[in-house]
Subunit: 330 residues, 2 copies
């Protein structure tokens, strides 16, 4: 295992320092925490938005902190939920008096810790609501999850919530819209290789030289099946067919995210995107906007996920609204 | 070798189709070529900017096409220079009547083919100038290069040239500024693993399990030495010391790029960035702006490069000027 690190116990701390030193006009660290916020947080009168989870998924979530998206990202150890006390600090830092929305990916540890922090914040008089993202259609229940996992589609929830919050919409309304948005997002991924959690010092799983895993989770949780490597177009068809089976996108306008898991060259992501666009066209699905790149990674895992987001006119506009984050651009 | 491709002979064509299908409001393909241009190219009265080279370095260079940067990117086979006829098409497509600047990375094939295309364009009455980027301090002469190689620092040249062109500056002046910019940019990289050119079907080189190569080229050309993996801070110190030895950045204001070569997690790039910022501070070097991410990759190579760009007040402003490309943001 070769990693560009110093002390394995300090990687999250050093990463956070690196992020805020690199981008001091956009981000700051809440002292003595693993929380990164907008430099101008809390924004008075605006609903605060907090997301986060284990690290190792960068640019999620600090890359989505900034005007028009999140107010704070709370960062756990690699693939490990942040603790309730850290989440509480993020809530307090994001609270501008109009309440705080927690955007949680559906993993048991995350849900537990974010909900505990929510209760603690409410005891301190902060109004807190939550939404739970579960966009991954691959499997029902998984290693760390009851129900479906939350993966790359989460970034679209950040964007819609962020635009609404910036426009002065109330906590109750943002929560309601986000629940509706989540119901219209579906994702699925595939892995060509494992990643190695630094502290574990060995790969999370093993794939044979010619094997891929369909439906992989972003922590390497098992997917649906392991099959021989196929042509890109066939892999794409497998993933989208499962997505489309779960929610019919026919005759809809959609946004698409082709998300690299860490080690997949952009060249391959665009070969995937070509097929996604052709498939959508032949199924009378209208892609309004596409994001192709690394948005929700699994350290250096090779592979990708596809996300479809069924849009209405309001969401189309909100997706295009200005944003000032490091890693999401319109 | 697992790759997400269909036909190994069609990967460049399919990638280009994927790029323009994904981003039709920013980019278009010049029919029957491997050239991607701004949707509104040529922009009348503006100096046209053309860059490019072999593919496999994405997001370079199509990711830097758009208002405020390049007018056209011409794309060769993987790690192979585009042919003069394709470069000529790019020049013609970028020519808005004020001449065209070629931004060439210093590889023998690229220089030869771009200069041949320049001559062909001049025969057709188009005014063409060129600049050659050679920012890599690792080695003098290399597998595909006489003199130093051009690597990630090229992206800063695109940005400065793009801002000047957008501001109506003349071809002669842009060329002169870019030559001066290039003289103030230094880069160096390190690899932890090789990449595999799809058509070759095997890794370009082999590194032992605990070995890294200091000074690697973006096509896997040999660097300075192979050493045992070290702490991140020590690797960074090695790279920056060599950069600083070559051009003294003390008491300067600089822009920094920490560039992932393909498979390196963003977490590790930020650990690198932390050290770069600390080192710069302790050497009285003032980092004005930082870019951390994948800007000039080598397929799925693991590793990174560091670029320092010594700024003057004009360049500081030009770096911050608005830009509308896929992969470079200010």
């Amino acid at each position: 295992m070769k990693k560009i690190i110093n002390d394995v116990d300090a990687i999250v701390d050093e990463m956070i320092e690196g992020i805020v030193k690199s981008h001091p006009t956009i981000l700051k660290r809440l002292p003595n925490t693993t929380v990164i916020t907008r430099v101008d947080a809390p924004v008075q009168g605006k609903v605060g938005l907090v997301s986060g989870g284990g690290s190792g998924h960068e640019p999620a979530h600090a890359g989505y902190v900034g005007k028009g998206m999140l107010d704070a990202a709370v960062i756990g150890e690699v693939f490990t939920s942040p603790t309730p006390d850290q989440i509480l600090e993020a809530i307090k830092a994001a609270n501008g008096g109009a309440g705080v929305l927690l955007i949680i990916k559906n993993y048991t540890g995350d849900v537990l810790n974010f909900e505990m922090a929510k209760e603690l914040a409410e005891l301190e008089g902060i109004e807190v609501a939550e939404v739970i993202v579960n966009d991954d259609v691959a499997v029902e229940d998984s290693t760390f999850t009851t129900g479906r996992r939350g993966i790359a589609g989460t970034v679209f929830v950040h964007k819609i919530a962020g635009a609404l919050a910036e426009n002065g919409v109330s906590l109750t309304e943002i929560k309601e819209t986000c629940d509706n948005v989540i119901a219209n997002i579906r994702s699925m991924g595939v892995a060509l290789s494992s990643c190695t959690v630094p502290a574990a010092k060995k790969p999370s799983f093993q794939l044979e030289e010619s094997e891929i895993e369909i439906g992989i989770g972003i922590h390497g949780e098992p997917g649906i099946e392991r099959v021989a490597i196929q042509q890109a177009d066939d892999i794409v068809t497998t993933l989208i067919s499962k997505i489309q089976e779960d929610l019919d996108f026919t005759n809809s306008e959609i946004a698409v995210m082709i998300n690299g898991l860490g080690a997949t060259p952009e060249m391959e992501l665009y070969i995937v995107s070509k097929k996604v666009h052709e498939w959508a066209k032949s199924h009378n699905i209208h892609i309004i906007q596409s994001w192709v790149g690394e948005y929700m990674t699994s350290l250096e895992m090779a592979g990708f996920s596809i996300t479809f987001f069924k849009l209405n006119n309001e969401w189309k506009d909100l997706l295009k609204q200005d944003v000032a984050t490091l890693k999401f651009h319109v």
